[in-house]
Amino acid sequence: MSKFKKKKGGDLPAVNTASLPDIVFMLLFFFMVATVMREDTLMIENRLPSADQIEKLEKKNLVMYIYVGKPSSNYKAKYGTEARIQLNDKFAEVTDIAAFIAAERASKREEEIPYLTTSLRVDKEANMGIVGDIKQELRKVNALKINYTTTQGDVSNNN
């Protein structure tokens, strides 16, 4: 009975890969949407400390970033190993902060200026001296809203 002929055994049929591009595109779109291009190229080591009583920073475009940390290995020879400040793409001194804040403010609309927050992204190995200087400088230019940016985690991870 040819109707009930057994299928020829042996070769497995090839898996249909026609939907592979769709799957890959789906992943691609996810990552494209989720990606935030880094605005600044870091020239310092920047491992943030962890904390668990944290709030999320709203309105990303109203945040000014100040990075602090040891110069990374490429820059060690030139800038030493003490923690330094980085503003935009350059190493800076504490005295440059006032100008930086003024420039950031000038680039925003006037009604947004009171909502500007300064995010302090400080390496956990840095010491408080430099942070204190930055805070003092921020007070002078009346940029009082700050955020000690941290990662989510238990404080015991800090050691």
Binding site: L138, Y148, V155
Partner: protein, 206 residues
């Protein structure tokens, strides 16, 4: 000439192109972590007028250059700090500026400790050599102390206002959440009330 159908474009390499892009985005992606401890710096005031605050209303936390913690003149471990701060803030031994007693405090009502959460101030001092990670740990514990009290208060007054089983942290989260279905106006009132009852008075001394 006979009409010929346009030849189909071979789409076999589409997956490869997509993979290439995918890998590029995978590599460049940094999931941004923009969260942290928010603080407001005190403005610089011209008139240096000293406000006299009673010593018992100040909770001094000192962090020295070797990251050792001195709380009210006593050495303390970091893990005990939160409980100590809660005890101080929640003491309620006296009256606030309006002469009201703290009827929601559950502390010991020790007359030698803080009068009212309204008056209690935590003062955090650090040295130049203090490491940033230790400083953040201490800040975290102190904010944690306030959150403990606020959460407790939220669970107490929440049910009366129609927000049962919601801690303060959840309340603030819901108030910001666009998709939250509840009454936001009312929720904000409750949040403001709790914030007023346990105001965050944390001073960072230079």
């Amino acid at each position: 000439m006979a009409k010929r159908a346009a030849p189909e474009v071979n789409a076999g390499s589409m997956a490869d192109i997509a993979f290439l892009l995918l890998i590029f985005f995978l590599v460049t992606t940094t999931m941004e972590k923009d969260s942290g401890i928010s603080r407001k710096l005190p403005p610089i005031e011209e008139s240096e007028e000293d406000v006299i605050i009673k010593q018992k209303n100040i909770f001094t936390v000192l962090l020295n250059g070797k990251d050792q913690l001195l709380v009210e003149e006593e050495l303390m471990e970091l893990k005990d700090l939160r409980a100590a701060a809660v005890e101080f803030l929640d003491n309620g031994g006296g009256e606030n500026a309006d002469g009201e007693k703290c009827n929601y405090c559950k502390g010991k009502r020790d007359p030698a400790s803080s009068d009212h959460p309204d008056k209690a101030i935590i003062s955090l001092k650090n040295d130049r050599e203090t490491s940033y990670k230790a400083y953040i740990s201490v800040q975290n514990e102190l904010v944690g102390a306030y959150n403990v009290l606020r959460n407790r208060r939220a669970l107490e007054i929440g049910p009366q206002k129609g927000f049962a089983d919601m801690s303060f942290t959840e309340m603030t989260k819901n108030a910001k959440d666009v998709n939250w279905p509840g009454n936001k106006e009312k929720l904000k009132e409750v949040i403001d009330q709790i914030k007023k009852e346990y105001p965050q008075k944390l001073s960072e001394v230079q």
